[in-house]
Symmetry: C2
Subunit: 346 residues, 2 copies
């Protein structure tokens, strides 16, 4: 019987540190290592089967050999880590039982032994697609929620610009801003994404930044009276153009700079003088600093979803073996909506 | 009698718009135009004799042909304008009488007819040097006050870095931060200024940025545990180095970027990723947005001065003809302390 409980556990491991956007060859699918599907008493851990894994831009920072960040780097030779939705197989933690569905940090592998169970959340909302717990109701959704309500100081009628607007965070920011009574424009990198923004996601307008020669002129076209709130997801040239188009007392919430995920932005930002001229506030934030609001967020955004007031677009890759290309695709804009990897549906 | 009332009125005029740091040759001393020392009834204006004129970095922005700022450009062929302390010669505004000493916007000339009298302030504190009303108790002092208390969110024990620290604003920020219980380091561009910071102005430490090869390493030396508050007066390379040394939840108050007073910073800022990593708040401000606090400021800083808790260093040029070189000197760091031009002592 004991022997039957040991199964193969495929893993995606990081081969070594990098200091650029990741390539598939930076990761390796490791097949053939075994794992016991029973955990030992007294370990206080939870053994899970991973169902859905999240690909997020911040993960690039964990592929660098840099300890000074808010989160330590991955360990070469070990599985990539990230947010996931998982099913509990066996538990030595009284808060979890076999069969529970949980979300939290897990490994890029079929089965994970989770030792730090304090941050695991048991999923209660079974009327919402499971994978949404790493998207709409997970870290990206909460980033949008905390960023928009706590950082952007929105007012009804504010002119809001969202970059990477069809991405995991941007699509929610835009919809929350619309529900708040703002005028919302988004940018994205393909015609398909722009169409989604204008139709399915209900943005007032949207444009493909790759087709624009002069982002300053583009923004003046969409915001002839300027921008009150910029939800910054990309950095670089877009940020520089936005700075030229902010209204007095405008707010810029910075949660990601997907175009700039290295320690040093070679191009540089040139228009910071606008910070004084327009008395701007630029505020960086991490959703993890606002976790006291998480229950309220799940309640409110869950309700919006059930009422049909908010939708969520996912890009689902099938199979653990597709995880490296899914992650790599984030940095070229291949994903349409929140990038998820389905390891198993149950 | 009437004839005797007409006197020569020397003026410093702007010759034409520029888009670089000003040179003395951009201005001209115009001698020989006459002004009547009596104003006509019904004009609601005030005629003043200018005593002290203020040279401030923001004035460079008014020498450009750019209407989109918070303050319109100067008019070529007309006198430069700026803050000044003046004596009322004649008044058709019931709020002012001949002999009153006032501060407010005036012209770079011996006598000015001030039509917009609403912003003129009658000086009440006659135990404080008159010129301090365009420094310690004027716009620069109020910039320091509003910036430190309203923008920097200071806490006792915070580590504060001030650039251009011996300048009109910086010297007050540093002293207010010390009085608040912060650890304060300043940077300046000469040994003389650094000595003043450490002795007369009571900073905990100071350095000459021109003698440092690697500003990042310098800041790590003075702030081994990082910076909580940066009072930004210079921009450019210093801001970039500061970004690498901010502590989590650090605040950057931006009131000036004297090294970057053009529309486009060629060098660029490269380390904005720190905004996310360290959840920084960068906030631009103008003292004019906080004028409701002005009476409280005059009371508090006036009291600090009378109690000997705060000092103020001025660099006084004598004579209107020295005004162009005084203004130009701001952008090469020639001034030691607040740059003032004395047109007349009474």
């Amino acid at each position: 019987m004991e022997e039957l409980m040991e199964v193969e556990n495929k893993q995606v491991i990081l081969k070594g540190y990098i200091d650029r956007a990741p390539l598939e060859s930076d990761m390796e699918l490791k097949v053939g290592n075994q794992i016991k599907l029973k955990i030992s008493k007294g370990c206080n851990s939870v053994l899970v089967k991973n169902l859905y894994l999240s690909c997020d831009p911040y993960m690039r920072a964990r592929m660098r050999d840099f300890q000074g960040s808010y989160i330590p780097p991955f360990v070469p030779g070990k599985p990539i880590e990230g947010f996931g939705v998982s099913k509990v197989i066996d538990s030595d933690d009284p808060n979890f039982q076999a069969g529970d569905i949980v979300s939290g940090f897990t490994g890029w592998e079929e089965y994970s032994l989770i030792e730090d169970t304090k941050k695991l959340r048991k999923i209660q909302q079974h009327d919402i697609p499971l994978s949404y717990h790493i998207g709409l109701l997970g870290m990206p959704g909460f980033t949008a929620y905390a960023g928009f309500y706590e950082i952007c100081s929105p007012k009804k009628g504010d002119r809001v610009f969202v970059s990477a607007a069809s991405g995991a965070v941007g699509q929610i920011v835009g919809q929350l801003a619309k529900l708040y009574g703002c005028y919302v424009v988004g940018s994205a990198g393909t015609k398909e994404k722009v169409d989604l923004l204008k139709t399915k996601l209900g943005f007032d307008d949207a444009f493909n930044y790759k087709e624009e020669q002069d982002l300053d002129a583009t923004l003046k076209r969409f915001f002839p009276e300027g921008i009150d709130i910029y939800f910054e997801n990309v950095g670089g040239a877009m940020l520089d153009a936005v700075l030229l188009n902010m209204r007095v007392h405008g707010r810029i919430a910075v949660c990601g700079m997907v175009s700039q995920h290295s320690n040093h932005d070679k191009e540089g930002i040139h228009n910071l003088f606008s910070i004084i001229r327009n008395r701007l506030t630029i505020k960086g934030f991490l959703q993890s600093d606002y976790l006291h609001l998480f229950p309220k967020f799940v309640e409110q955004v869950g309700a919006y979803y059930r009422e049909g007031k908010i939708v969520y677009i996912e890009d689902m890759n099938e199979g653990l073996e597709s995880a490296p290309s899914a992650l790599v695709g984030l940095f070229t804009g291949k994903n349409v909506g929140k990038q998820v990897v389905c390891v198993s549906r149950d």
